[in-house]
Symmetry: C2
């Protein structure tokens, strides 16, 4: 396989874009990535999206976006892996270029989900879980994560307030990200007093949905000259059981462990080499479990790096440097693409107040389902 570089990126602000359509948002991100790359066309378009059929009455989304963005005759598909769809689309675009089948490919994550009543959106999101054995019982997606968080707190003796630093860090970082959905600082007091969603998960443990799109344009690294190329050093994906009750240990993200270990091996790196980690903080408990599974905290000690001040942009392992899912927002099928765009911004040194000093190796991890499908990518800036 040949090495692949990220030539350009694009993203929209995440918001409730009631006045804009699915195709409009996606093509803004696509055209921005093309412009950033100095290109006008690509051979393949890989669209990460979860809910366009259910929410927007639109399938064949790859075709629609190739057409609407002016990528005439380009190959196009939609890729779905629930909230992991964005990184899944990126990984398939990567393989297409790495294989030599394409000399250029664009991965775009897009979700337009705020036009419907929240009850409909909650029901649609529940399709990320096992419809027959979880959804059929009436358990929502946040409900499943609440079960995990409750068990974790009991098992390891943490209290709810111990998860506050994750959300406080995410909100603080999002203040400096113009594309983020939320621009509000929060405090421990606010965190503890937030409205309950599904105990113990309250509004400030949970990420907000939103409308948004993010895109990355991939080319063979050999096509670029000079230093400071952003290359894909590793790409890996793994699955766990879809239903959480089928797992021998519901408090360990085995798919995160497997995909991160595969990625470290591919890149010849260890956790200590990672300068920043855009993890999938759909709920604060997921930040803790992700840090453990990927080698940044001991088992049962996930909240520790946050409590010790190690997750800020200047800490040992900066996470959610642009706001994370919690404050940048979580337009589900687009999130994985936002994470990768943000890692590129860090490696390019474009992150102003939340810039990680001398960042040259960044990791992004995107999760579909309750820890079910987990994709890990490592990007590196070349000398």
């Amino acid at each position: 396989m040949r090495q692949v570089a990220i030539l350009g990126i694009g993203q929209t602000k995440i918001d409730e874009h009631w006045e804009r359509s699915l195709r409009d948002l996606a093509s803004e991100a696509i055209l921005a990535a093309l412009e950033d790359s100095g290109r006008q066309w690509v051979q393949g378009l890989f669209v990460g999206n979860m809910l366009s059929g259910m929410i927007d009455d639109q399938n064949n989304l790859g075709n629609l976006l190739a057409d609407w963005s002016g990528l005439k005759m380009a190959e196009a598909v939609k890729v779905e892996a629930a909230c992991g769809s964005g990184a899944a689309a990126f990984r398939l675009a990567l393989m297409a270029v790495a294989s030599g089948e394409m000399d250029s490919a664009l991965a775009v994550g897009i979700e337009k989900m705020t036009d419907r009543h929240p009850h409909e959106v909650t029901a649609a999101l529940a399709t990320a879980a096992d419809a027959d054995y979880e959804g059929e019982q009436g358990v929502s997606f946040v409900g499943l994560n609440a079960l995990i968080m409750q068990r974790y707190m009991v098992e390891y003796g943490w209290k709810h307030a111990d998860f506050a630093p994750f959300s406080i860090n995410a909100h603080a970082n999002a203040m400096h990200n113009p594309w983020a959905r939320l621009h509000t600082r929060i405090t421990l007091e606010k965190f503890e007093k937030a409205d309950m969603v599904a105990s113990p998960i309250n509004l400030l443990d949970a990420s907000p949905i939103g409308d948004g799109a993010a895109a990355l344009l991939l080319v063979p690294a050999e096509a670029l000259t000079g230093p400071n190329k952003i290359v894909v050093a590793a790409s890996a994906s793994a699955t766990d059981t879809l239903a959480i009750h089928d797992r021998p240990d519901t408090l360990f993200l085995s798919a995160a462990h497997r995909s991160s270990r595969t990625a470290y091996h591919q890149a010849g790196l260890e956790p200590k080499d990672i300068d920043l980690f855009e993890l999938h903080d759909a709920f604060s408990i997921m930040s803790a479990l992700s840090l453990e599974a990927c080698g940044f905290a001991e088992r049962g000690q996930g909240p520790r790096p946050a409590l010790d001040g190690e997750i800020s942009p200047t800490g040992r392992i900066p996470i959610c440097t642009r706001g994370g899912l919690k404050a940048r927002g979580h337009p589900v099928g687009a999130t994985g693409a936002y994470q990768l765009v943000e890692v590129v911004q860090q490696l390019r040194g474009q992150c102003s107040e939340t810039q990680v000093p001398e960042a040259s190796i960044g990791m992004a991890q995107n999760i579909g389902g309750s820890g079910a499908t987990i994709l890990t990518h490592i990007l590196r800036k070349t000398d």
Copy 2:
């Protein structure tokens, strides 16, 4: 890129499987392909499906099926390109193995769509078209194809009965395919008297939907020894505009032309070298247009090969040798996988009464939308 071989295949009968679930049908095809291959695990599962979110309340389908089929920890995604989803999943599995990223991958097409009221299914299928500019106007998918057929008949002077040989051939061939949905012979008289759906398309111009799954297991060709390997000689995909009113010529399948020409070039072949062609006869008009775009008939002369008796298993260009979409059935996201499985059966010589004599090169073409996304694959039996 390394050459890829198809090691095993599996399929379910297409039917109204009211007593069986989405996961049940898909895993039957997956397990059959594993058994046919002598394998117990693959690195990646690529699921082609269009409607699981809308019809079955189930997303994250790649994960579900990897889990349910016992492919623990395997990478898994769902791929959607409307009715072209099956071949799209196959093409991505192919690139994963060709790139060296995986040493084994399984592509499965699955659709479970007969549990809902036909009105709901018709609305769901309309999401393959442009929701804002076609679906919003109330035009159904068959309605769009009726507009194309009507225009074609006016433009080139064909009458409705001229399309009968396509459906008669498909039904005759399906009589010998135990996995086909329909086992009924039809005549010209029956064809002309069938109930109207959307003029000029009647029930015997249109393919029936259904529930079913088909799977193919891919490995590097170099991993196999001996003659008679089934290898992928070409794989190509292209898009046209999604909405048919945006096309300069609605009677020419430009994406079929482009993807077939790319495929011929890759394989070093011409149309005359193709021993059989599993084309996408969702409606009889599509058979005519596909034959034209792929070089088997002159422009405007698509019905000619059928009228001249050239499309039977012993004819110049055998099509729909196992019944095609018309009689084998059209479980939309699974259809592309069925076509490829059937080409493999032909190259293996497993097609009894509809066996194409000395078949060694077979082509399959899968269409998503009204000629919008078109994938062409050529398989070849090695000496």
